[in-house]
Symmetry: C2
Subunit: 762 residues, 2 copies
């Protein structure tokens, strides 16, 4: 029986539903302290002095740290511009200024209130428009001097500039029969993982720190904490217990370095878990985008040219922003053949919380613009929106923006998969409501950076899989176990998964960029292949045959092809290798995605911050929306989301991702928005920040799995984590436009905003 | 600078002296229970019934288990004869009969007293003589039917029989000018590790158990607990925190399976640590031996023939006894050329605690007989005892008992090393005392079974070494780090060692048989070699040269030979492999010692229970003893212990082993003895069982390191763990004989016994 393709419930679900799964909150170390953060009250101010005496005098307080106490340099994945604690200046409200470790959490939090920090307040810039204005206050005086991982334009408050061009866009407009143009605006969206960020650190007498934390990459935590604290990497072991959700917020470290700093200073174990409010105020959100887009087509629907200009709010620190902006520009063409396309982006520092990675990584923002304009073109030329998309769909043999090869016709298959729903007659709305149907599409990567796998055979023939990949709740532990099991033709029960640990696991860049199934899966197939070769080498000696005559058989056996009775069990192979000859079997693989993001023969770029990306999944989403004419409230009645994942290793898990992505996209489309009151976030709580509940989701989300095998994917698979969210907002927006006759170009599409356009268009 | 050969203080010493090192006693899990054991009051009895009601009614008691509740089969490393809890019968006083888990330790221990077990008492056998007597009570009715790892004679109370013969011993006596013969007796010695055995187990909702324990082999714990509890190995993860000493007592599991059984039954974490008394009563001790030995030589000192017959007390269960007896028979020839030799052993079940592995593994017992007889021959032929040994010393090109090749002249070098001390004039004794000098020699293995290593390069070029080897306090963590560092020409600070974990570490058979430096060291050299090849592959592309032109340079650099400035750092190599090409660097190695223990062309054997062993270290010990004529008390004034370790990876650590081995051997020689009062151990405490203190050790133990490289050892190294203890007792005994003029053939050589012989010989 094949484990790949099996609808296997998650291996971790039993632990989770019984409450036995251990998160940071469940971990304790002997003699453990609790940490707390003093955040800045100012958006922009110079720190003049600290008075820690009252805090230190509070019984139970063990240590208080300021930015001057933290060794190490500036860190950041793209721009080295951030300190673990504010040093010299604060740049956003809530920015950690001081840390306290105390015998209990209440004392630690109380002590933060006793710290006196003297500030010289500075004028703040709270939007890219303010940031780019002549004479604007400068968020980072040292901007130009910062170490950046790639060359880019920068200066003043401009943190990064990226451009991308294929073909001759300026000349191409003349070929177009129809051109649509518009400005779009998307909001800051909060991640709202069920578990806030938290960490627990402990130090040994040699100064080696062990750091448990809720994260999306145990190895990024190690690298970034070491950078932030000036530790050699051998001095920091990072471990990941269960993680309660991550959508990009837990990819780059944050609370980890602060917790480790308190441990190093106090010599004792320290735990620090952010409150929900702190999680809103000091981690990161999805970038607000301002987009100007222009798309041109021929009368027959052939897309000719596209030009996109984005301005992105970076927040106070670079974080993943250059990557998000750069990726969104590559995605701005959409999964379509458009011979002439151009995109340009500018990223501005502001005095707000940093923005960063969030499921979709800039793609949902640009997709909103792209897919809106496709519907506008379809309307202008009188073409069915699905047909317009199919006509221009990228297909096998085509090239991506940047020049990478398109490996499958998965996109067309996604359009086919939603076709029946799209064409099905709509039911009539109830009185006082309007109904319509919308469609939108997207593509998203899964090939990125480095990963490894170690597969070991135990003495009884069972297998240990160790990958360093963090299951953040999306189900990768189950999927990777299935890949390993199927690679060696055993059941998942014969494979045990080691948990991520920088001491014990091979490098894994992280659970991000929809990369785990594709990248780590490939490494597992490679490592299992080495195990298979070693099994066969043992079996050849045991069965006295040539290795080439051997085949793996279901259930952990290896035998001579065509001779059913000539076989040995994995247990027998393991016994021989452990006790007699060859040594216990270990297989490893390690790889880094090395296909260039941009082929200079195909595109002219500057400031694209990542040299290699690739391997694209596809999606097409159709949804039926109903709008209450009295309130403007939009309800999505039913949705069809088709995703091409190459091969669904676990269809149950893929469906979960499709449904989850749709629901999170629904929130982005209709109601989620981080709101600032001046420089302060006005809604940092689940009372005031609305995410989708069961009352908000469609009665049915049809998760339609398309499987067009990716040539080098594990069992043909590619990523599923992000693709299901990218096109949700434009699908709903296109439905709203069909229902109301007017377009909303700003997210979220709240009842107020929908009502506004309905009033304009009776 | 080379790390190998450096006198590096142990990497774990700082943690230990500050009390930060974490042992089982320092670990806690949420909601943890405590376990306690009800031991048998009878040496031999049938269990008729259990009444658990009163124990279960005690508030705080969560579960009570009997042998009938524990799933799984009989386990044992050589004979499958033992259950986790007594089933049907008890076979020694203290044997675990029931287990209790309760909210606290006091309640658990209290509850064991409330359990009523109805027994039918049976007559017990308390010595091999009783066991072999016709009509003796039978300890194991199922004896003949037990699964054994090798074929042997067995039946009645005979658990195992082993014989070994080279040459023609019976005919050889005629060639001898002098023959000595005698009976020797050695006692049960307790391990007395500073930390008693203990374990902590936890279970997840899928029934996977994580088991922390104090052990000498995290993988043997995994295998044996799974065998004892009937778990597939994937369902048990074993982890080892710091271990407070192990001399064989922590090699085979014991408390671990009981703790895991309580966790499985209760669904909660359970910790159980033996009291010192329980550690004496239910773990294992060194085997008492009865030895009849005969040695013959020519007048010129040439050894001709040797015949050894041993009778070994197994105790109630097989444990490592067949291995200990078999190894002692192979060692019975000593490190000498003796063309005709024979050894025969019988192992008898008795109703006592199991005996098992203890530093030296049967070698100290037979060495006592061998080396005593060599002195007797020397005396008879009027030859210097050291010269007699040198004349017959095994040398490069010779063969071991069994036929293995002798790879070095290390033994002769050991004799040379103690030569000056041996010949130095003795100082005069104080009045009322006698002084004399003794010498004895031995050899011991270090090549045995399987091991692995994984070496990974982190993003900053530092290295993680993962071997699964448990540092039981002997210093292997430091030594293995030195081997890894030197293999890649970096400092030890650039190598971090992962702790043993069956999920994360490669297989390691255990910290036993003096095998870690040699076996795991070889695997590290192999894994580091793969890392070196991958480093060079990266560097060749970076420096645009051939791999063959590259050399590793001190401090983590790789460059073109002969071109000093053409080089890149490991950090640069790591950066490239992690971010751009090739993938993060992993090297692995896995091996199993595969040289046969006995070559049938050289020896005729039966019942030798291990097919492969080899690689021998040597030792020669000289000591000056002083005997108080009034009390018979022996004091070792000064000792010279020369050990050939091939290469001292860490001379400080080797010296520590030589000193520690001497001190433990001193206790074995002079005062340590587990004493039975009927069927019950009379001295199960440190009040009543005497080990050597600082008042007992010589003023100076000269640790003399001999380095004759072992051809395939890591940097030429071989084992040091056991060799320093083997010849201590005969060296002291030979000194006592020289002082008193009469021989003691029974250990320990207490003041009473010495006084007895002195009274006989004025």
């Amino acid at each position: 029986m094949s484990e790949v393709g099996r609808r296997l419930p998650r291996l971790d679900s039993r632990d989770k539903v019984t409450g036995q799964a251990q998160y940071i909150a469940d971990l304790y170390r002997p003699n453990m302290l609790h940490g707390a953060i003093l955040g800045s009250l100012h958006a922009h101010a110079r720190i003049l002095s600290y008075d820690l005496a009252a805090a230190l005098a509070l019984p139970g307080v063990v240590c208080v740290l300021t930015g001057e106490d933290v060794k190490g340099g500036r860190f950041g994945p793209f721009i080295k511009d951030e300190h673990v604690l504010a040093l010299g200046k604060v740049r956003y409200v809530g920015e950690p200024v001081c840390l306290v470790a105390a015998e209990d959490e209440a004392t630690a939090r109380l002590a933060t209130g006793l710290i006196e920090v003297e500030y010289e307040e500075l004028p703040a810039v709270l939007s890219p428009e303010e940031a780019m204005a002549p004479g604007a206050p400068v968020v980072h005086e040292e901007n130009v001097g910062y170490i950046r991982v790639h060359k880019t334009e920068c200066g003043g408050n401009l943190a990064w500039e990226t451009s991308f061009a294929e073909g001759d866009v300026d000349a191409a407009w003349a070929e177009c029969d129809v051109i649509v143009e518009g400005e779009f605006e998307t909001q800051a969206q909060a991640h709202v993982a069920i578990e806030p960020c938290g960490a627990l650190a402990e130090i040994d007498a040699n100064g080696r720190v062990t750091l448990w934390s809720s994260n999306q990459s145990v190895f990024r935590v190690q690298a970034n904490v070491c950078e932030g604290l000036g530790l050699p990497m051998g001095k920091l072991r990072c471990v990941t217990p269960r993680v309660g959700g991550g959508f990009g917020n837990k990819m780059e470290m944050h609370v980890q370095a602060m917790t480790a700093a308190l441990t190093i200073a106090s010599g004792r174990a320290v735990k620090m878990i952010l409150s929900r409010e702190e999680d809103f105020e000091i981690v990161r959100h999805r970038h607000p985008y301002k987009i100007r887009a222009r798309t041109g087509a021929k009368r027959d629907g052939t897309l000719v040219a596209r030009d996109v200009e984005v301005v992105v709010d970076c927040g106070a620190y670079g974080d993943d922003s250059p990557g998000v902006m750069g990726f969104s520009l590559l995605m701005a063409r959409g999964p379509y053949r458009i011979p002439h396309s151009r995109a340009h982006g500018r990223l501005y520092y502001t005095n707000k919380i940093r923005f960063g990675a969030f499921r979709g990584f800039g793609n949902p923002q640009v997709c909103f613009a792209t897919e809106t304009q496709l519907d506008e073109i379809a309307e202008k030329i009188g073409m069915d929106p699905l047909e317009l998309r199919r006509k221009n769909a990228i297909r096998q043999g085509d090239r991506w923006a940047g020049g990478g090869a398109v490996n499958s016709d998965g996109f067309v298959k996604c359009l086919d998969a939603v076709g029946a729903a799209w064409r099905e007659p709509r039911s009539a709305p109830t009185p006082g409501k309007r109904r319509a149907r919308g469609i939108a599409c997207s593509s998203h990567i899964s090939g990125l950076l480095a990963t490894g796998a170690i597969v070991r055979m135990l003495e009884d023939g069972s297998l240990i899989l160790n990958t360093g990949a963090v299951d953040i709740g999306q189900g990768s532990d189950t999927v990777l176990t299935q890949i390993c099991a199927d690679s060696l033709k055993v059941g998942v029960g014969q494979v045990s998964l080691a948990s991520p640990d920088t001491d014990g696991s091979p490098f894994n860049w992280g659970t991000t960029a929809s990369r785990v199934t594709y990248m780590t899966g490939r490494a597992i197939v490679g490592a299992a292949g080495e195990v298979e070769r070693k099994i066969k080498a043992q079996a050849a000696e045991m069965l006295e045959c040539a290795v080439a005559d051997l085949e793996l058989r279901d259930g952990g056996r290896v035998g001579i092809s065509g001779v059913p009775q000539a076989e040995v069990s994995f247990a027998a192979v393991a016994g021989r290798s452990h006790w007699a000859a060859g040594g216990p079997i270990i297989g490893t693989d390690s790889l880094v995605y090395d296909k260039p993001a941009v082929d200079p023969k195909h595109a002219v770029t500057s400031g694209v911050p990542f040299p290699q990306i690739g391997v694209f999944s596809f999606s097409a989403i159709v949804c039926d929306v109903e709008i209450d004419e009295a309130t403007g409230k939009t309800t999505v009645l039913e949705a069809w989301s088709a995703c091409d994942v190459g091969k669904a290793i676990n269809p149950l898990s893929v469906e979960g991702q499709i449904e989850g992505g749709f629901v999170q996209g629904l929130g982005f489309a209709l109601f989620e928005e981080v709101v600032w009151d001046g420089a302060r976030i006005a809604n940092p709580s689940l009372m005031d920040y609305k995410i989708a509940t069961t009352l908000d989701v469609p009665q049915r989300i049809h998760a339609l799995i398309v499987e067009e095998p990716e040539p080098d994917g594990p069992f043909g698979a590619k990523g599923i984590g992000e693709i299901p969210i990218c096109a949700v907002a434009p699908a709903i927006a296109n439905g709203i436009a069909a229902a109301t006759g007017t377009r909303l170009r700003r997210l979220p599409m709240t009842p107020e905003r929908v009502l506004d356009v309905m009033i304009e268009t009776p």
